[in-house]
């Protein structure tokens, strides 16, 4: 019991926040996981109850509780709809850290986080090597989506359909930038994020094209590391701290007006999680707090700051190349719509391309089911949730589905590819950038 007592003590940090939950159960109405399973342990109320019991030392099976706490997309839909305003994501992140400290990381996670993710250069080198040999163990899955699958690795990755790693990652094409402000008078720090860097460099290129077009100066320091959320979501606080310190030191080297990312998850992490989870009184906490108000998703920056507005239909089709005559729908990434309440700006950005027509899909703001490591640990459930998203995309009749998060793009591409659907998956910035001539 003395060990459990230690765990209980480390959960004291969140005890006040736990008490805010009045167990009304309204989270059952919106939780994507509960919708599939109907299991109280899968919904926020149930998880919070387990944490209360651990803190009170009234529950002995900490491992069982950890499994429950981790079976969560961290989509924040419950938090956005909670009548009592319980800080659910903060509770879960802190609880995962406490539980991981108590129980330990799995050997695989230890290898991934401490052996790879924590060391950006090693990570880049490993991914680069992997990209050269990736065709060996994988085969083409769905030509329309450009996806691959792997029988060889099916024990680890299941029958996922995924994009191959980029031949040249974004950081190889553009290792670093420091361009002064142009006619916009603004200079931004640019954080492309891991998925953009390693799988979708075209997103990073589209962002730079747009910055150039609007005369926005760009500071992109060399050697950026992961934002840290995958580690933190697995309770690996140590790796998170290292990554945060690494990134914070890089971005502190230059002055900038905004910190921009094309990834909803990175944006929410930098804006909310960095200041929340950085070590107390650390220089990182201080910097994260300074940067939080400046941190923005690319579409919010373009619409709210640079005043990009929906295009007039009179010049329809005149500019767009790839999306001329297309119908485009939009999937709200949870970390943008629920965490940061950014919903209209990405839609406006799509509408700024007069060549295509925007159509709203049903359940646009329902989680796609990816949830980062949730997808790795609960693939079947993740896919079930994703299939509902696929149905809504198809029902909308759109030929392209756009979103603002490369992680959601992975999930949506997987479920579409599995069904041989021809709907294209794009980032909103690609749709806007398509209207800009170089």
């Amino acid at each position: 019991m003395s060990e459990l007592n230690k765990l209980a003590k480390s959960l004291k940090e969140i005890e006040n926040q736990l008490t805010d939950c009045m167990k009304c159960g309204m989270c059952q109405a919106v939780c994507p996981v509960f919708k599939q399973t109907g299991d109280e342990g899968d919904v926020a109320r149930g998880k919070i109850f387990l944490l209360e019991r651990l803190a009170e030392e009234m529950l002995t099976d900490a491992k069982g509780a950890k499994t429950r706490i981790e079976k969560c997309l961290m989509c924040g839909t419950c938090a956005a709809n909670c009548p009592s305003g319980v800080k659910i994501l903060e509770i879960f992140l802190k609880a995962r850290a406490a539980l991981t400290e108590y129980i330990g990381l799995s050997p695989v996670k230890k290898l991934i986080f401490r052996g790879m993710l924590k060391h950006p250069e090693r990570m880049d080198a490993l991914v680069e090597t992997a990209s050269r040999f990736q065709n060996l163990g994988t085969s083409k899955a769905e030509p329309n989506q450009g996806t691959r699958c792997s029988k060889l690795l099916s024990g680890i990755i299941g029958n996922r359909h995924f994009l191959p790693l980029a031949r040249t990652p974004f950081h190889k094409t553009v290792p670093a930038l420091n361009i002064p402000a142009g006619r916009s008078g603004l200079k931004v720090a640019f954080f492309p994020g891991c998925v953009t860097d390693k799988m979708n460099p075209e997103i990073g290129e589209a962002v730079l094209k747009v910055f150039k077009h609007h005369g926005v100066g760009v500071f992109m320091p060399k050697g950026q590391a992961c934002c840290g959320i995958p580690a933190l979501a697995s309770g690996e606080r140590n790796t998170f701290d290292t990554l945060l310190a690494h990134n914070a030191a890089l971005f502190a080297k230059e002055q900038f007006d905004y910190l921009i990312t094309p990834c909803a998850t990175c944006t929410a992490t930098i804006k909310e999680i960095w200041p929340m989870m950085a070590e107390k009184d650390s220089i990182e906490k201080c910097r994260a707090k300074q940067w939080a108000p400046k941190t923005m998703d690319i579409s919010q920056f373009l619409v709210d700051v640079l005043q990009v507005a929906p295009a007039q239909k009179s010049d329809a089709g005149s500019e767009s190349i790839e999306f001329a005559g297309d119908t485009v729908t939009y999937h709200d990434p949870c970390h943008l719509a629920k965490s940061l309440k950014v919903k209209s700006q990405p839609r406006d950005l799509i509408r700024a391309n007069a060549g295509c027509t925007f159509v709203e899909m049903a359940g646009a703001d329902v989680c796609c089911g990816n949830g980062g490591s949730f997808n790795l640990q609960n693939y079947d459930l993740s896919k079930q949730i994703g299939m509902e998203k696929r149905q809504n995309i198809l029902t909308s009749g759109a030929r392209t589905v756009a979103t603002s998060c490369p992680a959601c793009m992975m999930q949506i591409r997987d479920v579409l590819s599995q069904n041989h659907d021809r709907v294209k998956v794009r980032h909103v910035i690609e749709i806007y950038a398509d209207t800009i001539k170089c």
């Binding site: 009304c24 149930g46 099976d61 009592s84």
Partner: protein
Amino acid sequence: MSLSSSLISELQQICGENGVMTSEVDRQNYSYDAAVLEPTIPAAVIRPNSKESIGKVISLCNDSGTPVTVRGAGTNLSGGTIPNKNGIVLLTNRMNRIIELNETDMYVRVEPGVVTADLAAQVAAKGLFYPPDPGSQAVSTIGGNVAENAGGLRGFKYGVTKDYVMSVEFFDALGRKVTSGSKTVKCVTGYNLAGLMTASEGTLGVFSEITLKLIPPPAASKAMMAVYDSVEAATQTVAAIIADKIVPCTLEFLDNFTINAVEDFSNVGLPRDAKALLLIEVDGHPAQVAEDGERVEQICKKLGARAIQVARNEAEKDKVWEARRAALSALARLKPTLVLEDATVPRSKIPDMVDAVEKLAQKYDIPIGTFGHAGDGNLHPTLLTDRRDPAQWERVEHCVADLFDAALSLGGTLSGEHGIGIAKAGFMKNEVGQSSIDFSRTMKAAIDPNNILNPGKIIGQ
């Protein structure tokens, strides 16, 4: 503390392996509901997926003397879904089919696990209307609604859940199937067991199918907000509206404390110095709505409303209701623990009740926000506290007891819509007298000789 392994394996045979949960975390996760009460960890959690399996599970439990607590969404506010230590929780959410939606005869047959809002939406899609709208309708189940006789905002005009129950099918304590009621409007065949089962809180049987009455939806509606400098003026308005033979579909009340909490929370522009707000909506035929709306407006003015805001369109209507929708959330954020009461008085006694609540708040030094359904006298005095503070919690318990006394002394009742469960079982005697409890206990003992169906709820042990 645990069930015999032979019983577990028999339950597994009936409900499938994943229909029987026995791990510590799973059992903990079904030890509580939305009431502020101590959890009780059950011995197992069972999820039957067919009518037959419900009957078999109950029969097994009866033979082994295992208590059964039925649970839908676990939103109960009186502890009715908190299980017994050696008992099982019987979850209904695998049985969530709408069996038949009959537009011609205007009824719907459902399994008990159907979510209220899902049902209402499907009914609306067919151009019909299922009015009961308890606050938890987005998650609550029809089985739970019937077992608690759930109310809602529309109670005054449209009634509560019991007014829509046409027939029930349930399994009794011996696992026998029982049916009562009919799909017909009229039915006097046998005892009105459907009536008995409504609000029985899982103590008399377990529903396997419920038939609900549907009605045509109103064609039009009109909403308004009236602002008052005294609670009396607001309640006199309520009385005058009713005396004028107008029946609004909703007639909601917010006190000064709640008004300020809502304003702090959502900044919707409510007058902070107002003593009371009435939110009124009339519905029906467009011509009648126009006429009723105008008359209600005149009555509000005549009885001293200092301002009246009539919604001219859907957006404005939404704004009028935002204040009411935000009430519970706004109050919930003020203190860690929220005790939501539902003592109900005849509507003419609302000023006395509001007065009594204010006095109790002062006496026990506990902040209380009061809002609720003025049209039917069902107010929700909401006590804000921190259950971790023993001294404060003791004051809350005394305050709640006095609150019940106040409601009863005004000719009211302990519970308008949340049920008795465990929370109010001890106060039953004050309202109905010992002989009524004895009668209920005799009936329960005859129906459930081994006392396995949600023992301890409503009538105590």
